[in-house]
Symmetry: none
Subunit: 214 residues, 2 copies
């Protein structure tokens, strides 16, 4: 295991060595990795070098570290990578329009996904939202959309959407008002029935209505 070439990026070599070690020793998700001190000893490098490699993997969500306990192989479900990258991307081109468009892309994709899956249409949450709208017409826009993305059952898409929402200028925190409530009820109704074209059309009207506010 000590065939480390002196390539100019030692910590990258360590990353590779760790990968091999994980494979060779059959370490599974959630299992504990050797401690930093042991790794340093085994790989014949300093502990700080090992830590640089581990910290990189942690930022990627590939491992999880708990002080006092140890380092564990990650569950890969947290796409932290996307968050970090996006926050970096967001500041440079500062193209608010792109953010908005991309957010809408994910929202529409969620609607499509629901309309094409009978199980997602039959979720009780839709009836609940309609009921609430009927009663007092005050439901957070954010709640409605979030439920749709959640229902689409794509965690990565949800992560991205959540991130975009924070950078978006759309007033997600506002309550729906009378006219808007009608549109949303249409949208939910179409979703329940799986009418994809009508649902998307209703969604378009909604967006138009919201953006017309400003």
């Amino acid at each position: 295991m000590q065939n480390l070439k002196p390539s100019s990026k030692m910590f990258l070599d360590i990353v590779g060595e760790l990968r091999l070690m994980i494979k060779a020793e059959g370490i599974n998700i959630g299992d504990k990795l050797p401690s930093e001190r042991v790794l340093a000893e085994r790989l014949q490098v300093g502990r700080s070098t090992v830590r640089e490699a581990l910290r990189s993997l942690e930022l990627l969500g590939l491992i999880e570290t708990r002080r006092g306990e140890g380092t564990f192989l990650g569950d890969f479900k947290k796409h932290q990578l996307v968050e970090v990258l996006s926050t970096f991307i967001m500041q440079q081109p500062k193209s608010a329009m792109d953010v908005n468009e991309t957010r809408i892309i994910h929202e529409k994709a969620a609607i499509e996904s629901i309309c094409k899956d009978i199980h997602k249409q039959n979720l009780p949450v839709w009836e609940g939202l309609i009921m609430k709208l009927q009663e007092d017409g005050t439901v957070l826009r954010e709640d409605i959309v979030r439920e749709m993305i959640i229902a689409s059952d794509n965690r990565l898409s949800l992560k991205i959407w959540f991130l975009l929402k924070q950078y978006s200028k759309v007033p997600y925190e506002k309550m729906t008002e009378e006219k808007e409530a009608g549109i949303v009820k249409d949208l939910l109704g179409h979703i329940i029935e799986g009418r994809v074209f009508e649902a998307l059309a209703a969604y378009d009207r909604w967006i138009e209505d919201i953006e017309g506010e400003e």
Copy 2:
């Protein structure tokens, strides 16, 4: 700048601080960042902690370090990091599926965007691709899809797609073959004419064909 909360992950805070610093000081791609020693001084942390944050960002390709010269804001084009990642990640069925689905979401959205904008349809790149397919039938899948996303004129979507592509198991680097070339030519033809439904249908056939390979 020293308002660091003692959250349990100092190096993550540093990453955040760096992001703010880059924005505040208007550091652009290729520009030099302050040296590790200066950063440590400014942020009132040890140099090793700064290095852990920098190494993480380096693995992501967000920064580039050159011994003896300094640390520079990355150009996002280097993606050697992901070779390592893909070998780590691609065993998890559900998250791999999410990555795939999300990638397809962005690809379809690009197609829709192009089909709804006459200017995007009239780009010379489409004719060029068709020509190339006609000649020898060897065009990289990646090139075709990338051109579509670029044409959609949403930089954020492009960034996300690029990221997902690297995680994706789809053999993007492969050449298109005979049967596939026919489908792609259909797709491009529909795009040029702005026939959104037909284009999306052709795209679906393409995906099906690719995934059927395995």
